[in-house]
Subunit: 104 residues, 2 copies
């Protein structure tokens, strides 16, 4: 679909993408983790898009199997949510994923 | 108001009360902290009450100044949200608050 193409284009063209909701603390946590790493992800606030928000969430669920926020992509790859991203960071794997994505 | 009285009665009559939303991870985190401490709080899921949910949230905001979830009370006292409760636990103060509340 048109929306699916636009999501695929967004995650292919931006090294780090976070689909978020402005009032969700888990979304805020993952955004601040990236800020701490001096990374500026492309952040898409699903609750600020009107009817397109829930439509985008359905597309994300079709593409990734994940209907929850935050939904994180690095280098075009689906990473998961907040706990997944924090786990990668704790293992020291997040920064190399980000630099690989930036090198593309 | 009638709703304000019912909230005051609920927090006076139950040692630990958590106003929550079923799909919110911060609400889940605070519920699992209590579970870990073998405490069974009274949990009120604001998103399962229909129109009363947002009304209750307004009352909680009037009573506590806090419009967010989770909203935690122990022994009739307003504790705050997830971060506040976790902080008290880290300082070793949460368990004594809970036993005091249970002793009442
Ligand atoms: N472990 C996941 C949890 C994600 C999660 O449950 N997100 C909630 C908001 S904090 C959500 O999108 N809930 C909507 C739903 O469950 O339908 C993560 O770390 O991102
Ligand atoms: N630090 C607070 C954060 C609470 C918070 O921001 N809760 C969010 C959901 S995770 C909320 O209720 N958002 C609604 C709003 O901001 O209007 C806590 O630990 O409880
Ligand atoms: S909505 Fe509460 S942590 Fe996401």
């Amino acid at each position: 679909s048109r929306l699916e193409d636009s999501v695929n284009k967004t995650i292919a063209e931006n090294p780090v993408v976070v689909y978020s909701k402005t009032w969700c603390s888990y979304s805020s946590e993952v955004k601040s983790l990236f800020k701490k790493l001096a990374v500026e992800p492309l952040v898409i606030e699903l609750d600020e898009l009107g009817p397109q928000g829930p439509q985008l969430q359905k597309v994300l669920e079709r593409l990734t199997g994940q209907h929850t926020v935050p939904n994180v992509f690095i280098g075009g790859k689906h990473i998961g949510g907040c706990t997944d991203t924090v786990k990668l960071h704790r293992k020291g794997e997040l920064e190399s994923l980000i630099s690989e994505a930036n090198a593309k």
